[in-house]
Symmetry: C2
Subunit: 328 residues, 2 copies
């Protein structure tokens, strides 16, 4: 006789199998529901990922990042349209920052890419970046796995901002495109943001505005001076676009193609690149799982609420409190 727990597990496994079948059959509603499951970190989501894992190898993941106002969404849309004209199946994951107060995404699908509607080979999804540890990276990576299993050839992952979490795009994407604008300042300021090293390709968007040419020269010089070549010999090119008018986007896509080809040219290099990214990704996924388990096992939430007033009053040191939790 099956126990209640076994029945529950069985139910989860079956629901996950059905959802996985839907994803593999490229059913849009199944894909959307599958992404919601991994976003909410449900047991069905976890089982689903296990089932889809062997099928998620083929897509090329392009990460697009840069400061707010640099026109990333417009550029991603323009690239997606070009890829669609080649008959490639394209998915867009747009990681929206989460409001630290409401917990919700600030932008939703509604304001994004109206052209996705009605096109079976084009899928768009906004994801909230959560405040949680590894939240951006884990859920976005998992969503990209689902999309890869659903047979999308290209997955464009757009993230807003230039902070620490944006470095996670390196783990998610095969190619990283850094979008700047003429007003992004000189190359030293770009380097200060810590984002120059993550780019496989640079693009200066809104290039019709003043200062673009200077920035382009600055970046090129900075790269040569600092020997900015990636392991294996890739030197990130600097492209220029006016995405709103589709100017320069074709050339940019050709450069992205070249980076993809370069990655696959040498099987040993490709394996090393993938393994390096996977190592970082595994850390993020594992850490999330470890914390999740620890918080539940030690009932940390309740403990913290009970002890917080004494820590706030500086009667108990945070470090002594942490030690007491670690012992428990």
């Amino acid at each position: 006789m099956a126990s209640a727990a076994q029945a529950r597990t069985g139910g989860v496994a079956q629901a996950a199998r059905e959802l996985a079948d839907g994803v593999l059959a490229r059913d849009r509603r199944a894909i959307a529901r599958a992404i919601s499951q991994v976003e909410d970190a449900t047991p069905i989501g976890r089982a689903l990922l296990d089932g889809l894992f062997p099928h998620a190898g083929a897509a090329h993941r392009l990460g697009v990042t840069g400061p707010p106002g640099s026109g990333k969404s417009t550029l991603v849309n323009a690239l997606a349209q070009l890829l669609r004209r080649r008959d490639a199946r394209v998915a867009v994951l747009a990681v929206d920052p989460t409001s630290p107060f409401t917990g919700g995404a600030i932008l939703g699908d509604r304001v994004r890419m109206p052209r996705a509607a009605g096109d079976e080979g084009f899928f768009v999804r906004s994801m909230a970046s959560r405040g949680s540890v590894g939240g951006v990276s884990a859920a976005t990576y998992e969503a990209s796995e689902i999309l890869a299993a659903a047979g999308f050839d290209w997955i464009l992952i757009e993230t807003v901002g230039v902070g620490q979490s944006e470095l996670e795009i390196v783990e998610l994407a095969d190619s990283v495109l850094l979008v700047l604008v003429p007003e992004s300042g000189d190359a030293v300021q770009v380097m200060k943001a810590g984002i120059m090293e993550i780019a496989d390709l640079f693009v200066i968007n809104k290039y019709d505005r003043e200062g673009g040419d200077r920035l382009r020269r600055d970046i090129s010089v900075a790269m040569e001076l600092s020997d900015w070549r990636r392991p294996g010999g890739w030197l990130p090119p600097v492209h220029t676009t006016v995405a709103r008018d589709d100017r320069g986007v074709d050339e940019l896509l050709q450069a992205i193609d070249r980076h993809r080809d370069w990655l696959h040219q040498d099987p040993a290099r490709w394996q090393e690149v993938r393994q390096t990214k996977l190592r970082r990704r595994m850390r993020v996924l594992l850490n999330r799982a470890l914390l999740d388990r620890a918080w539940r096992a030690a009932q940390i939430e309740a403990r913290l609420e009970a002890d917080l007033p004494r820590i706030a009053a500086r009667d108990v040191s945070p470090y002594a409190w942490i030690e007491s939790v670690l012992e428990a």
Copy 2:
């Protein structure tokens, strides 16, 4: 007879006590060494923080954040000079982004604030933001505790970027100043970055450049429309500066003073604000400790290296692997 472990613990405790005495005596070299200990997360650092905790209550922590190139360093320097003229003791913590490849900070103390040299009431320190979980927040918070215990009246914490990690400034700082520039785009783009909600004060720096007035109006309108008032009734003001020429900085500092006064006006509100920030901070500190312990206990590093090739070859699912680690 003391065991080797006890002797080691005794040595750590004594070293921490000596360093704590140096910090409380406001010895600059002791302060610098103490910050290095917490940056490196050493046992001495942890013991030190425990000892300094009761002494770290008084300082006002001002967080300064905003996109790269907005002139945060210049503004922070100008504010620090003004505070020094009041005879307030001022410390600056500049969180520099860490290179994801070399692991080092991209900028160092060298390029920052030459005026700190020779002034006993002015202390400047750059911190690398690490890639680790809660790295920015934990080490920077701990450094600010040391500086508060060392009797600094103001601690200015400058962080680069507008990504998720920058939201952590909310936990670190009593007042958060968001620095924008005329080119930051319209208010919708600023909101997209998810940073508008974290600001207690806005400043548009480089206000002599085109577009500043429009941005100022946009933000004011957006705040009124969305009822951007903080719990307790604080409505973030929008100031304008040209920090390079010291223009508007005095008025900005007066606004920061007003926010500080407002925080302390109502003891119940002050307690609630501090407790909310502390709750988030405790989560970060605890998570770091939990992960640190788990990785060491389960020898995860070695396990990951051994199994990575099979995961990369998609022979083993990442989720199955994580389950196997959690079991161990």
